[in-house]
Symmetry: C2
Subunit: 237 residues, 2 copies
């Protein structure tokens, strides 16, 4: 590859990496806005999150297109190819996170418009939301810095989030049994918590792609114990 | 490309296409087994679905690997490249469908082991399950026959499935308010229905990749009305 073309290629790779982080930033903003709107009951803010999802979708299509052009024109191999494939997969997960943020906004709007305030468990929901947001930031940071150590952290964080979700469901069931008037509100809260749990899943997926990117090793479907053993092996090596 | 290499390349493309359909078949079997186990309360069948998910995951990793080798070695362009990218995306959705089938099995097992039989709404759940299974078959068929017309069908089918899910939730809320002893069982049923609804989403995603594959056109995030107008345009052209 000539030096001129090689420089263009590097710029193209840098461009898609930057766009992934921009898309990640946009999705973070969507989650923050949806969670804020939940605390404030701000219908306009819910509406903005719902409307802004088209920008998330549009970024996915653009970056996907860029990736395919790079593959067709530059015929990347090895690490560069893994980068492009990683970007294609990462933007899919980011787009799904965007969808979950939009769902949270839709459900939040429904709750406030129906004036269902009897069981405001939004403090627990917000806490889960902050955890999921932290996971997303960690995953995007790992992508930016090509850091494979995030995957083990996020696999554990994801288990905690799943456990928090299960505990939330049990608590809501208790409330519903004590006071059946809280059922509808509790179901809405449950689905919002579910959306947050899914955001954590997607953040975990992204961190696994980064391991693949850096090590050429596919660690999806690897248990925490196995990952810990391998990390220990890496440290001893 | 020499004729010899060109033939090898065609065989490699044919191989990954076949493997996608095999993976699709395996995932179909998982859904069928999970739904049958729900009707029968067959714990052994639940356990088998839960255990067999590793085979689904393993197929995803294998096919993903094949795709990356093809891209690196054969440097496909145009339609062949779209095929490989489509396979990479399709197997991700198939793997997620496999996860949903495993979740249905885990939740079904929990229901039967806790002997929660008060509200057997499994007939409605099974109906939703059959619809989602039909959608998956349609999507795999569209992939096999490179048929772009499935996308519009599945976009509509997915909306119906979402509507059925919403109706199911409202019905379960009614039962729960009438008899709070049914709350735990109803929540379990709700999550099973949610998993089925997600299977439909993934089937719809696959049909959209096929349109991209055939027409080089990304129709994700396109509304039903827009798709209908375009289909009409295609027919008049």
């Amino acid at each position: 590859m000539s030096e001129h073309i090689s420089k263009q290629f590097d710029m193209e790779l840098e461009t898609i990496r930057t766009r992934v982080l921009q898309m990640g930033g946009l999705v973070e903003q969507q989650i923050i806005a949806a969670l804020d709107a939940l605390s404030e009951g701000d219908i306009a803010k819910f509406d903005k999150v719902i409307a802004d999802d088209v920008h998330v979708n549009s970024m996915e299509v653009t970056i996907d297109d860029d990736c395919q052009h790079i593959i067709a024109r530059r015929q990347p191999a090895a690490g560069d190819l893994r980068m492009v494939i990683t970007v294609i997969k990462t933007i899919t997960d980011l787009e799904r996170i965007g969808d979950e943020a939009q769902k949270i906004a839709r459900m939040g709007k429904t709750i406030y418009e129906a004036e269902r305030f009897q069981v405001p468990r939004f403090r627990e929901v917000k806490k889960m939301g902050q955890n999921a947001l932290r996971m997303l930031r960690r995953a995007l940071d790992a992508f930016a810095r090509l850091d494979p150590t995030a995957a083990l952290e996020l696999l554990e964080a994801d288990q905690h989030l799943d456990d928090d979700f299960a505990a939330e469901v049990r608590q809501l069931i208790t409330f519903m049994m004590e006071d059946p008037r809280t059922i509808t509100m509790s179901i809405d809260t449950m689905f919002i918590s579910k959306a947050i749990e899914r955001i954590g899943d997607h953040a975990k997926n992204i961190s696994e792609y980064v391991v693949y990117l850096v090590k050429g090793k596919d660690i999806r479907h690897t248990s925490i114990d196995q990952l810990k053993r391998e990390a220990l092996g890496d440290n001893l090596a």
